[in-house]
């Protein structure tokens, strides 16, 4: 088991190197630091001194890969690649355009993101499983049919409409909750209720339908027939046997997204003004703050790989038949 984990962690290294290379190529080769400077400084006619100054301030004035002018031993380290890309491995993200430390910013913004994403995940899971069980219980009836139709209809609505509609109804029409904003501590609850509800609602379509398929697939297994043959009530079959076995694919599917919860939700956070990592990312994209985007790409891939590892481990925990070597 330990050997397996070590091997998986080692396997993650080439992937992170690959991610790093892709971002490096995208950010520094396809478009050179000169272009970045021109984009940031805005004006069409920027003097070359201004560009040089901008680059020097941010450390983009060094050569990309090999610095022939540097002293021995620093020929590879005094380069853009080393300072901007390799250092990400040490979680050294540098500073954003407004000179704030990115690592610090991430530590601060992580909590609002989690405060929104964790309830959405847990409540969403409960609602989706309940809805899917309901459809599975009434399978091949009109309730099931219209349930699926409702799922497909919910899936066909853009997430933007859920948010805009929810904000309009709950905040403008009924004045139940503030339209957007955030506060620390327990005051956060009144700002979070609406985004959580909307997040859950937006997920019912795809989640409910997917879990229904899982349940129905499980219900065509032999052990279900045996359970029915020995005279168990349909509800007992469903809740005690099918639900338990279907939890294996459901839980392992959830585990992969757990680390990514840290990244926050792009849309909800920016619509509801929650100062999390999702809105940080969107702001960075819109302000074209490449240092932040680069850091978020790196963190996102680390978390994704972590999620994959956790998924494999969770298989062994929930399903004793699986052994990892």
């Amino acid at each position: 088991m330990l050997a397996y984990i070590v091997r998986r962690v080692l396997y993650a290294i080439p992937i992170l190197v690959g991610v790093n290379l892709i971002t490096f190529v995208l950010f520094f080769v396809v478009n050179t630091p000169d272009d970045m400077a021109r984009m940031q400084l805005g004006a069409k006619r920027v003097t070359s001194e201004a560009i040089e100054k901008w680059k020097a301030e941010r450390g983009y004035d060094k050569p990309l890969l090999f610095n022939a002018a540097a002293p021995r031993g620093a020929k590879l380290t005094q380069t853009v690649f080393y300072e901007k890309s390799v250092r990400l491995f040490a979680f050294d993200f540098g500073a954003a355009e407004d000179n704030r430390d990115i690592a610090n910013e991430i530590r601060m913004r992580m909590w609002p993101s989690l405060a929104l994403a964790v309830p959405v995940l847990i409540v969403g899971l409960a609602v989706n499983i309940t809805f899917a069980l309901f459809m599975a219980f009434f399978r091949a009836t009109y309730l099931d049919f219209w349930g699926v139709v409702l799922c497909v209809a919910l899936m066909s609505i853009s997430a933007l409409f859920y948010i805009i509609g929810g904000q309009y109804v709950a905040s403008k029409l009924w004045h139940l909750v503030p339209i957007s904003g955030y506060a620390g501590g327990f005051d956060a609850a009144k700002f979070l209720v609406l985004p959580v509800l909307i997040g859950v609602l937006a997920g019912i379509g795809s989640g409910g339908r997917w879990y229904r398929t899982l349940f129905l697939e499980e219900m065509s297994r032999d052990y279900v027939r045996t359970a029915r043959a020995k005279g168990l009530a349909e509800s007992v079959v469903l809740f005690r046997h099918v639900l338990k076995n279907a939890m294996i694919p459901i839980l392992t599917g959830v585990v992969v997204v757990i680390p990514l919860l840290f990244m926050g939700s792009l849309l909800s956070e920016s619509f509801f003004g929650i100062p999390g990592l999702g809105s940080y990312t969107i702001d960075a994209i819109q302000a074209q703050d490449f240092a932040v985007v680069r850091s978020m790409v790196f963190i996102g891939s680390v978390l994704y790989i972590l999620g994959l590892l956790l998924t494999d481990l969770s298989y062994t925990l929930v399903d004793p038949r699986i052994r990892l070597q």
């Binding site: 690959g18 990514l260 994704y304």
Partner: protein, 456 residues
């Protein structure tokens, strides 16, 4: 010529894609084993209904994909024929009455007056009131006649639709006799429903702004119709990039195994691990720089917006082939163990031939299912990406830019809801039809569903 055909990149690709699909249909119609799953698909009523709805969208999208530039009056003493810098499409031509009748700013659906009060003079006295629209309901002498006028136009539309109903009924009857297994009546009823909704709108649109006007006074119905093309392009052209990559790499990984498999798996795990929106955002931002730097490549603004759209499709394709590749890898892994492939090996058939002749046709159903399933997701993604600011060119009207512009007006009192409503209705119908059609295609093609292993 009074006009100059001016095909944009995406037009050409869209028409090529249409040609390829036509070729595929023709090929399927000659091979019964290829046509059978499609016949199964179209036996379902849902599929027939969705196909009709989707066909209406496609018709609008293709009418909007024939671009040209109108010839201008030749100035005295100038060389060559001058053409207007504005690139128009056949759809623009058909909707001239919507395109050219611009109001000053917002106006509600079917309104005769502007949304905002203005200062103007009546009989020499300054009044502050809602001014009459320049075009919306301008022909009415008395505004009290408006409800009657609207009712008359709707009635006229329904009357024409009733006339069409007779024709459709006759056609359905004849078609049903020829191919009774296809649910023609459901398709015909849907077509009738679409006509019954579209014809009154058409007759109303000659006099009113059916979905109101936006901030700069442009007709919202016109914008919604223009957005359809963008959605179709994003949903289809992306698959042009996605399919070859996903198919080639997925099948190769599963068939060759060994280091090729490792390399391809490494590639897609790496791409997958980068958060999708960020990768797309990074790539789009970079392309934006390239496009801005080479202003000389484009003779018109439409071309520039069009290239950005094309690049967006390519980027979406480059970032989303991984799912298909993983599916195909698993399938190819399974197929390469089967006896008929072993036999082909024993006969000394070359690898490339085994791949193209024996493996690819046997994974085709997965490819088709994936392609249809991806469409709706891509249409929805466009709206989100445009909101983030990395979608289509801000000057292009798409559902995303429509929602984005309308979102900023949420705070107004009374609320400006019509842009959102129009985008919602047009997008919802398109995505719903695509989703339901995709389900029907999956049921028709997936052998597991047909054999009863998986409940549909």
């Amino acid at each position: 010529m009074p006009f100059l055909p001016f095909p944009l990149f995406t037009d050409v690709l869209l028409w090529l894609l249409m040609g390829a699909i036509a070729l595929y249909v023709w090929y399927c119609s000659r091979k019964p084993h290829l046509g059978a799953p499609w016949a199964r698909v179209f036996q379902s009523r849902t599929a027939a209904i969705c196909a009709v709805v989707f066909g209406c969208y496609v018709a609008i999208g293709f009418a909007d994909s024939l671009h040209f530039r109108v010839r201008l009056q030749q100035a005295a003493g100038s060389e060559g024929t001058p053409y207007s810098p504005a690139v128009l499409s056949v759809l623009d031509l058909a909707l001239t009455h919507l395109r050219e009748r611009r109001e000053r700013t917002y106006s509600a659906p079917l309104a005769t007056r502007l949304y905002a009060k203005e200062q103007f003079e009546i009989d020499g006295k300054p009044v502050r009131d809602f001014p009459r629209l320049r075009y919306g309901g301008a022909r009415l002498q008395d505004e009290a006649e408006r409800p009657r006028d609207i009712a008359a136009r709707i009635g006229l539309g329904l009357f024409v639709a009733a006339f069409a109903a007779v024709l459709i009924g006759l056609a359905v009857k004849r078609l049903r006799r020829r191919r009774p297994q296809i649910p023609w009546s459901a398709g015909g009823a849907t077509l009738l429903g679409v006509l019954a909704a579209a014809l009154p709108v058409l007759f109303l649109s000659f006099e009113y702004h059916v979905f109101g006007t936006d901030k700069v006074g442009q007709d919202v119905l016109y914008q919604a119709l223009k957005s359809i093309r963008i959605s179709l392009i994003i949903g289809t052209l992306t698959t042009l990039v996605l399919l070859p990559l996903g198919m080639a790499l997925g099948v190769m990984a599963g068939y060759f195994k060994g280091w090729i498999d490792d390399a391809i798996q490494y590639l897609y795990t790496t791409l997958n691990s980068i958060p999708g929106v960020l990768l797309i955002a990074a790539a789009v931002l970079m392309m934006q720089v390239v496009i801005d730097r080479h202003a000389e490549w484009f003779s018109t603004a439409e071309q520039r917006a069009d290239l950005r759209l094309l690049v967006l499709c390519a980027i979406l394709g480059l970032t989303s082939w991984t799912g298909l590749a993983r599916l195909l890898r698993g399938e190819a892994l399974k197929l390469s163990q089967l006896e008929y492939i072993q036999a082909a090996h024993a006969f000394g058939v070359a690898d490339t031939r085994i791949l193209t002749r024996h493996i690819l046709p046997n994974v085709a159903h997965i490819v088709i299912i994936a392609m249809v399933m991806d469409f709706s997701g891509l249409v929805l993604a466009e709206a989100v990406l445009s909101y983030v600011g990395v979608g289509v060119d801000p000057a292009t009207t798409s559902f995303g830019t429509m929602i984005n512009a309308a979102r900023l007006e949420m705070g107004r009192e009374p609320i400006v809801w019509w842009s959102l409503a129009a985008a919602f209705v047009f997008m919802f119908v398109l995505v719903l039809a695509a989703n339901l059609f995709a389900d029907a295609v999956r049921d028709g093609f997936d052998p597991r569903v047909r054999m009863g292993f998986v409940p549909a």
